[in-house]
């Protein structure tokens, strides 16, 4: 029940939606094969540390909830620590059902893409 409430809250009132109040150092995107869900992750970075992360997303509510959860985890972490973050954590935190796993993969794919963009 707690996970269900959290999922709903993150969908209805995400704290980490993309905004224009700062410039972002990296942007990554991913989509699902059927293109029914899209996710972008934006990172603001200073001194090897993520100052803030934000997302834009199109898809079922669980996609928004996953993106919001991920951005919350990212804020304040060093890039090294962040690399240790796993999909399993997300699955556990939001109690993803088997048919919802794609949402977790999607937001992590977007994050990987952002990191790749950062490195280049």
């Amino acid at each position: 029940m707690a996970a269900a409430d959290e999922r709903l809250r993150r969908f209805l009132q995400p704290d980490h939606a993309l905004h224009a109040r700062r410039t972002w150092q990296a942007r990554g995107a991913a989509d699902t094969p059927g293109a029914d869900a899209l996710c972008e992750i934006y990172l603001a970075i200073a001194d090897e540390q993520i100052v803030e992360a934000a997302f834009a997303a199109y898809g079922p509510p669980i996609v928004v909830a996953c993106a919001d959860w991920l951005c919350e985890q990212l804020g304040g972490r060093t890039i090294a620590v962040m690399r240790g973050l796993s999909e399993a954590d997300l699955q556990a935190a939001l109690a993803l059902a088997a048919e919802e796993r794609y949402a977790g993969m999607l937001v992590f794919d977007a994050l990987q893409d952002a990191l790749a963009n950062l490195e280049t």
Binding site: L8, F11, L12, P14, A17, L18, A29, T32, P33, G34, A35, D36, A37, L38, C39, E40, A56, A57, Y58, G59, P60, P61, V63, V64
Partner: protein
């Protein structure tokens, strides 16, 4: 309290009906099949209800077969006619309700041949297409009066004339039109008519099949031989009485209610039409083509499941439904909208607002405002390339 705009799924039982059912249950404890005095009293209650239902469709009370709802009535009509004839061919339409489509698939697995006609962009089937589809062994044409997702109205009188000319029985699913549109089994040349109480102020779990005399029908529920052996099982006296009561009330309001609903629906559409790119899936322009209580829209560029959840769970909560809550990617979007030629994505992003007798102008305005806000929120959340409607 949610703003309830899902009257096509089920509309609240009218207070008069609740009261009448309570009185019937308190006073009539007997089985109407019993020969004794309490049994005959219960039988009289059933007879009065049959008269009320029959009056609303221009029929004779003795030709009403009580069922547990329109789903059972549709199953009885289709299986009953085909079993009576020992098989054959049926003509129906791709945008029918699941009760029809799934029953036809079941019959198909037993050797019945089924033609499913397409519809035009408005969702209408042409009477001439029905005529062209009729074969030598066509036993039944089955067509819904009002589509439950879009409210589109089929021209039953024209289709009925075609069926009469070809001597093929016409079954009509009137679950969404009873009490909202004129229904006249004689004028429309209907042979079997499926009805549901809970879409028009009666109780859930009550319905009826009206059957024109001399149409052959094999019973589908066997047992005590109630209802002239056409449908066994103890009659649910209070349920039947509630259905009858709802029909009497509806008949008295047939002059006013449709116009009232139509005006509210028009208002709702006006308030929603300002949404960038919104598409209307209901025939709102022509009042002949659309039932008064249903408005179906698609909002491109917004994910259907997100929009529905946002409206259902946000504040104030709306109670509306989607043609389908499933995602376009899984190709499970509304079969009705896809039959009308909408793309899967557009079909998946559809919302059905359905109005009832208790709907107020305030409900409409709050719902429209809430929908506009939610669409704006979701569009703002979406990646840039999607921020403009697809």
């Amino acid at each position: 309290m949610a703003i309830y705009l899902d009257h096509a799924a089920s509309t609240p039982v009218r207070p008069e009906v609740i009261e009448h059912m309570g009185a019937v249950m308190s006073e009539q404890g007997a089985n109407p099949a019993s020969a004794h005095q309490p049994g005959r009293h219960a039988g009289a209650v059933v007879a009065a209800a049959a008269a009320a239902v029959a009056a609303l469709i221009g029929a004779a009370p003795e030709d009403i077969i009580w069922t547990s709802g329109a789903t059972e009535a549709i199953n009885l009509a289709l299986k009953g006619v085909l079993e009576f004839h020992g098989g054959g061919h049926v003509v129906s339409v791709a945008s029918e309700h699941r009760a029809t489509l799934d029953t036809l698939s079941w019959l198909e697995r037993r050797g019945v041949r089924v033609t499913r006609l397409g519809v035009d962009a408005a969702g209408r089937v042409d009477a001439s297409a029905v005529a062209a589809a009729i074969e030598a062994d066509t036993r039944c044409v089955s067509i819904m009066h009002v589509n439950n997702e879009t409210g589109v109205v089929q021209d039953i009188a024209a289709i009925g004339a075609v069926c009469a000319e070809h001597c093929v029985a016409l079954h009509v699913d009137a679950a969404q039109s009873l009490g909202k549109l004129d229904l006249d089994v004689a004028r429309m040349h209907i042979d079997l008519l499926s009805l549901s109480a809970h879409k028009m102020g009666g109780p859930q779990g009550a319905g009826a099949l009206w059957l024109r005399p001399r149409i052959g029908l094999a019973a589908q529920i066997h047992g005590g031989g109630q209802q002239g052996n056409r449908r066994s099982g103890t009659l649910a006296v209070a349920q039947v009485a509630g259905f009858g009561c709802a029909c009497s009330l509806a008949q008295a309001e047939m002059a006013a209610l449709p116009a009232q609903l139509r005006a509210l629906r028009q208002r709702l559409w006006q308030e929603l039409a300002v949404i960038d790119g919104v598409l209307c899936n209901s025939p709102v322009q022509d009042s002949e083509l659309g039932a008064p209580h249903i408005l179906n829209i698609s909002v491109p560029g917004v994910h259907g499941a997100a929009l529905l959840t946002g409206l259902l769970e946000g504040t104030p909560a709306l109670a509306v439904s989607a043609g389908s809550a499933c995602s376009a990617a899984r190709a499970e979007s509304s079969h009705v909208l896809r039959a009308m030629g909408r793309t899967p994505a557009v079909a998946a992003a559809s919302l059905r607002f359905s109005l009832g007798r208790t709907t107020t102008k305030n409900d409409i305005e709050l719902a429209a405002a809430r929908t506009r806000t939610e669409v704006a929120r979701l569009r703002a959340l979406a990646p840039r390339q999607l921020a403009v409607p697809a």
